[in-house]
């Protein structure tokens, strides 16, 4: 499934947000493939990630970060050590 490619801290956090097993958090998981990932859940994911890693996303980018790999890439771009 490829969940090993997602750092465990991010995987566990997203598992809490989307109420699924950490093993299901693969890079390609997105708002298109996960029914639970609606706009409010997305906002919750963003707020949880910001709290966890002490970062602030650019609000213009927030609506675009709708997959695990996009979130991960954005965090890496912001210099977060995952």
């Amino acid at each position: 499934m490829g969940f090993e490619q997602v750092p465990s801290s991010l995987r566990e956090l997203l598992a809490d947000v989307f109420e699924i097993s950490p093993d299901c958090i693969a890079p390609e998981l997105s708002s298109k493939t996960l029914e639970n990932w609606d706009s409010f859940r997305h906002l919750q994911a963003i707020l949880a990630i910001e709290g966890e890693y002490s970062v602030r996303f650019d609000p213009q980018r927030i609506p675009e970060l709708t997959s695990v790999s996009l979130l991960q890439a954005e965090l890496e771009k912001m210099g977060v050590a995952l």
């Binding site: 566990e12 956090l13 809490d16 947000v17 109420e19 409010f40 906002l43 919750q44 707020l47 949880a48 910001e50 709290g51 966890e52 602030r56 609000p59 927030i62």
Partner: protein, 636 residues
């Protein structure tokens, strides 16, 4: 990064609690986890866990389930997990439905909107400045605006229409959230503070008027979110980025403070406040140990650190001014304590007489509290116990779990008041004349007890009290007092139904219905409104839905006088039979035989009646109940 091991252990404990559906263990694990971790994901984790335990929380811990509607103009969905968790920690299970952004007027006023059909028991109304008073910022721009006051009045009138319109078709309890005073305005800090019609002044005035408005709507309270924002820090209360991008009114870092504030506020609508504060003396009411240091050396008075204790004493005195009864529970020699209160009177804000009950001895404190409960005829769940000793607090928690034990911060006496005010124990939505008179009333009770032990025979004693009883509509009791009685009375309460003001109004307005309050005084004082009966007519029967009597008034025949009055009114409305209902709780055994003792005969359950009820019947045409001869009845 915080160390992860305890966090993982607590998450495991939570998962185990969920697997075993052990509600107490889940609450404990969640409390510890959230105290140790500030991670948003842990809040979400707990919310998910609690959402699978609703039944367990209700069944095992008696958590109150509340169908809750949120009517809003802002984004609140991200706050909901935190709200659910804080509610669960306070023993509520919220079944939440959220309204649309722009549809709050329809939701409030239209009885058949989705919200109306949901039949909420609680409704949270969260509107932002734009919706409540969108014109104010412009009108206040020059700080002297002539239209500001009119605009404030118009806003209040509009909200008043919404609240009353909602009340006309729903008896749900209402929480109305006020406005946060904006932090950055074009006038700047100096003019905001000094000009008569700055936005700050206008919003503060609007908040006060909205609070007063809520006081005129039954079952409605004003939630002062500005007070919370100020406590937390207005500058960080709202994350402007997320407010403008997503209309999120509260920053993620403040979700917990906000949720806790909401739960504490609406709790006052559903839960009776505690009534008695038992305080320890040494290192709690004053610093030091009286038995070792002597009365002249105990720490209290205007100099530090004595002023910390003085502040705590003043806080207790203020609590007693609104009806909280004070008691001393201390391991000391009583003579030493008397001497200390005499010698140090000038350095103490309280005198011994301010304490309605005292247990100054070497007995176990749990036993002392139990004795005071019996002496005052109050349940243990009305008690708060404050003591600096962790051991004493833990003993009380284990032996008397209903009592709220607060550990006084002996090493940091400046935190005494904070430790007490953090708890919602004494939160009230209203203070009535009865509350203010309560301490005097309990003192009179002690005198009555003395008379009882000297008088010969019960009837002679009761006659010597000179009891005068009058009946009036529960709507004029006043209504707030009637609702308070319904909410707080446990021991002499035949059905323990906790009706809202709107529901009491229904009883009063239906044909053949009754909502009667009993007011009582005797030669020791005015007890005020102490009894209540609600009844409805069905065919030629009068059904007594609720009948209750404040525990202070039990044993004087007032319940009989009240029953006789209900019987008279029933006859007058054409009823031939009185039907009484009794629902046993673990507290109301004092009134279990009320109906049989008054000549009622047990009958089988009517159709659709709950099997927990017992029904009794009395033929009014043959033997109507009569009022005891030692009670003088007065027309109201």
């Amino acid at each position: 990064m915080q160390s992860d091991t305890p966090r993982q252990d607590l998450r495991c404990a939570m998962q185990n609690a969920v697997a075993g559906q052990n509600a107490a263990a889940a609450v404990k694990a969640a409390r510890q986890l959230l105290a140790a971790s500030s991670r948003p994901s842990d809040v979400l984790f707990c919310a998910t866990a609690f959402s699978t335990m609703a039944d367990a929380l209700a069944k095992q811990l008696g958590a109150r389930r509340l169908r809750t509607c949120i009517v809003r103009s802002v984004t609140l969905e991200p706050v909901l997990p935190s709200l659910a968790v804080e509610a669960a920690l306070e023993n509520y299970v919220l079944d939440i439905q959220v309204g649309g952004y722009g549809s709050y007027v329809d939701e409030l006023l239209n009885p058949v909107s989705a919200l109306g059909n949901f039949q909420p028991e609680l409704i949270l109304i969260v509107l932002d400045l734009e919706e409540i008073a969108g014109r104010l910022p412009d009108l206040c721009a020059d700080g002297v605006g002539s239209e500001v006051e009119m605009e404030v009045e118009a806003c209040v009138a509009r909200i008043g229409q919404l609240l009353r319109g909602f009340r006309a078709h729903s008896s749900a309890q209402i929480l109305f959230q006020g406005l946060v005073v904006p932090d950055c305005t074009s006038l700047g800090d100096v003019a905001e503070a000094n000009l008569p019609h700055s936005l700050t002044a206008a919003i503060q005035s609007l908040n006060r008027k909205l609070a007063a408005l809520c006081g005129t709507v039954s079952g409605c309270i004003f939630f002062d979110v500005d007070r919370l924002a100020a406590r937390d820090g207005r500058a960080r209360w709202r994350d402007e980025r997320m407010f403008f991008a997503s209309r999120l009114p509260v920053a993620a870092e403040s979700f917990r403070a906000y949720s806790r504030g909401l739960v504490r506020s609406f709790s006052a609508l559903f839960r009776a406040p505690r009534k008695v504060l038992c305080t320890d003396l040494d290192n709690t009411l004053w610093g030091g140990v009286l038995g070792e240091d002597g009365p002249n050396e105990i720490v209290t008075g205007s100099a530090f650190p004595g002023n910390c204790y003085l502040e705590y004493q003043k806080y207790l005195k203020q609590l007693s001014a609104r009806g909280v009864l004070l008691a001393i529970v201390s391991k000391n020699n009583e003579a030493d304590v008397r001497e200390a209160f005499n010698v140090r009177a000038a350095d103490l804000a309280l005198s011994l007489d301010d304490f309605i009950a005292r247990r100054i001895n070497w007995n176990e404190k749990a036993d002392s509290i139990r004795e005071i409960a019996r002496e005052l005829s109050l349940g243990l769940d009305s008690f708060v116990f404050v003591d600096d000793s962790r051991v004493e607090c833990e003993a009380v928690r284990q032996l008397l779990p209903e009592v709220a034990a607060v550990e006084a911060p002996a090493m940091q006496p400046w935190k005494l008041v904070e430790a007490l005010s953090e708890g919602a124990f004494f939160d009230v939505t209203t203070v009535t004349g009865e509350d203010v008179r309560r301490a005097a009333e309990y003192r009179a009770q002690t005198q009555r007890a003395e008379l009882a032990s000297s008088a010969i025979g019960r009837d002679a004693f009761l006659a010597s009290l000179g009891i005068v009883c009058s009946f009036q509509s529960a709507l004029q009791a006043p209504l707030a007092r009637s609702v308070q009685l319904l909410a707080k009375t446990n021991q002499f309460n035949l059905t323990s139904r906790r009706y809202s003001a709107a529901e009491v109004e229904e009883f009063a307005s239906m044909a053949g219905g009754q909502a009667v309050a009993a007011r009582v005084r005797d030669r020791f004082g005015d007890s005020g409104v102490v009894g209540l009966a609600l009844a409805r007519k069905q065919g030629d029967s009068c059904l007594i839905d609720s009948l209750l009597l404040s525990c202070r008034a039990i044993g004087r025949g007032i319940e009989t006088a009240l029953l006789a009055h209900v019987g008279e009114q029933a006859l007058r409305s054409g009823a031939k039979r009185l039907v009484g209902e009794f629902i046993a709780t673990n507290k109301n055994s004092p009134c279990a035989d009320f109906y049989p003792n008054h000549g009622f005969i047990r009958i089988s359950l009517p159709e659709n009646a709950s099997p927990v009820s017992k029904f009794y019947e009395l033929d009014l045409t043959v033997s109507p109940p009569t009022s005891p001869k030692w009670i003088a009845l007065e027309d109201h």
